[in-house]
């Protein structure tokens, strides 16, 4: 299931709908089997820059086209569709399998587990194709893992852009990270707005 844009993007305002990249926690994005460590972060950018291939892109190691990309979000998101721009000459990925809300997946897990959804991809050099998700399964995604098992015949797989369309909720799935435990209360830690605004506050 794919839809192509046959209109100019200004009226449709595509860029805002592909804005889930802003909710990606880039510092925690990791990829397995990438040739340059850290290059995976370069594929998450704005819709307008999806064809901009001057910067880095994500490439797998020589002789092995498998790639595994782990993407955590800063808050729970609902994903409506995914768009992938691959490389030329058969280096585009040919299949995509995704897993939701599981971390620490490696290749043997990815190959044996049943994905939440999988697609057969097409060579999408202009980024006009999007792959719709079964929306009911993608309602509260805290992190997503993309597994690209093969390419279109080349020894390596190249990915220039990964885009997500959907909406972000403000909810977070994580446990509360910062809790301060006190043995005795320290009043300076507990100033209310009324107290700091003005006037004196006495603590006996």
């Amino acid at each position: 299931m794919a839809c192509t844009h046959d209109h100019s993007c200004e009226d449709h305002d595509c860029s805002s709908s592909w804005s889930l990249y802003k909710h990606i926690d880039l510092s925690k994005v990791t990829a397995l089997n990438e040739a340059n460590p850290g290059s995976v972060k370069s594929v998450f950018k704005a819709w307008e820059e999806r064809l901009n291939s001057t910067g880095e892109h994500l490439e797998s190691n020589e002789g092995d086209p498998e790639l595994l990309v782990y993407i955590p979000f800063t808050s729970d998101v609902k994903i409506k569709s995914i768009s992938i721009v691959g490389g030329a000459d058969g280096t585009s990925p040919s299949k995509l399998r995704v897993f939701i809300n599981r971390d620490g997946i490696d290749f043997s897990d990815a190959q044996s587990m049943q994905p939440v959804q999988e697609w057969d991809l097409v060579e999408n050099l202009h980024g006009m194709l999007e792959y719709q998700t079964r929306y009911s399964k993608f309602q509260s995604v805290a992190n997503i893992t993309l597994h690209f098992p093969e390419s279109f015949g080349s020894d390596t797989t190249q990915i220039h852009y990964i885009g997500f369309k959907g909406e972000a909720t403000q909810l977070k799935r994580d446990v509360v990270a910062t809790i301060v435990y006190e043995i005795t209360p320290n009043p300076s830690d507990h100033k209310t707005r009324a107290e700091t605004g003005g006037g004196l506050s006495h603590v006996e």
């Binding site: 397995l32 460590p37 190691n61 498998e66 971390d103 290749f107 043997s108």
Partner: protein, 402 residues
């Protein structure tokens, strides 16, 4: 401070009974393992370490990755030596153990002690290496013990297949007086990748090495900065004084050589080519007499700072030309502990017949068989003993004259 889960693969095969590493290979290995566990858990409290054995009846995991140092040390007791090491299976089981670590945020690392011969072929090891690299597992290899033909090559191939951005390392430890753990302390296996030494590694280096400490002067600058500074300053002053004395000795020797003689024909032929260049340098040094002598005196009176560097570069240029000269110069900038002996060495070299004669032979316009030359040379030899004292006397005398 990298957050890491480590699996250590121990070789407990029959080859570990050998005593070429004191007290036995197995004991040396155990000590190294203990040190590594300590270093890892200290560098980051959330790090975990696990241990497995590769030989014996089969690969056996002794303890899964844990941050409890006591558990790890306890499991090292009562290990039995026997069987043959199965490197491939060991690494694969280690990878599996790391896969099921509790904290998925930890980086994965395997440390292998390869003491016995490696049975697998290079291809199989490279496949394993590629799989590790794909799953971003780093591998450190400690190559010690047996060294049959292909082992080093195979391990290097394995490392090349695994290595991703220099996160994996290999260390070859030959048998010798140094303990296995001491050798490992200075390697990246202990110190991590370019983070600099962890505190544990640094203090372990200082403690374990005893007199021969990892720190200059045997004093930790962190513990006692003033003492370290005082030692460093005094050593620089001593070095400057030595260089001044060495310079004077070189000048005197070259002056006397111009009137010297040849005593040994065979040595000449051997060293003539090299000596001629060294000779030119010596003549240059003699020509720069006044300026360099003044420099030397100024140095011995003032603080030895910039001028010392000048001396160093001059000398190193000369040293590049001639290995014998390099030896002489090297001796002249030896440690403070050896200063009196090095002085004697320099003058001994100059008094050495063959050295002098080889230089003399290539001096232009000097006839080694000239009787006056012979006389001077003979007198120079007699002076070689008190010459050392003379040098030291001359330096302060000239200071007084100035």
């Amino acid at each position: 401070m990298v957050l890491e889960a480590t699996m250590i693969c121990i070789d407990n095969s029959e080859w570990m009974r050998n005593g070429d590493y004191a007290p036995s290979r197995f004991q040396a290995q155990a000590d190294a393992v203990n040190l590594i566990c300590g270093a890892k858990t200290q560098s980051n409290p959330e790090n975990t370490v696990g241990v497995l054995t590769m030989a014996g009846k089969g690969v056996r995991v002794l303890v899964t990755p844990t941050s409890d140092l006591g558990k790890i040390l306890a499991c090292m007791h009562g290990l039995e030596i026997g069987g043959e090491m199965n490197l491939a299976a060991g690494i694969q089981v280690a990878q599996l153990a790391l896969k099921h670590r509790q904290n998925k945020k930890q980086q994965q690392r395997i440390i292998v002690f390869a003491g016995s011969p490696v049975m697998h072929d290079k291809k199989a090891l490279e496949m394993i290496g590629k799989k590790l690299k794909k799953n971003s597992v780093a591998l450190d290899i400690v190559n010690f013990g047996e060294d049959d033909g292909g082992k080093t090559e195979k391990l290097e191939a394995l490392l090349a297949a695994v290595n991703n951005n220099d996160t994996s390392h290999i260390v070859h430890v030959p048998a010798g007086p140094n303990a296995l753990s001491d050798v490992l302390i200075s390697t990246p296996i202990f110190t991590g990748d370019g983070e600099g030494g962890s505190g544990f590694a640094a203090s372990a280096a200082a403690a374990a090495a005893g007199g021969v400490s990892g720190f200059e002067f045997g004093v930790d600058p962190n513990l006692d900065p003033e003492l370290a500074l005082a030692l460093r300053v005094s050593m620089e002053e001593e070095r400057a004084r030595q260089e001044a004395a060495a310079k004077q000795a070189a000048e005197e020797a070259s002056k006397e050589e111009k009137g010297g003689e040849e005593q040994d024909a065979t040595m000449t032929e051997r060293a003539s080519e090299g000596a001629s260049e060294a000779d030119n340098k010596k003549i240059e040094i003699a020509d720069d007499d006044d300026t360099s002598l003044q420099q030397a005196l100024a140095m011995s009176m003032d603080e030895p700072t910039s001028s010392q560097d000048l001396q160093d570069t001059e000398m190193s240029d000369a040293a590049a030309e001639d290995p014998e000269l390099a030896l002489a110069l090297q001796l002249s900038v030896q440690d403070s502990t050896k200063d009196s002996s090095s002085q004697a060495d320099v003058s001994k070299l100059l008094a050495d017949q063959s050295f002098v004669s080889s230089i003399l032979a290539s001096l232009p316009g000097v006839d080694p068989n000239d009787p006056s030359v012979k006389e001077v040379l003979a007198s120079m030899q007699n002076q070689s003993e008190p010459q050392q004292k003379q040098d030291e006397d001359k330096a302060p005398k000239k200071e007084e004259e100035k």
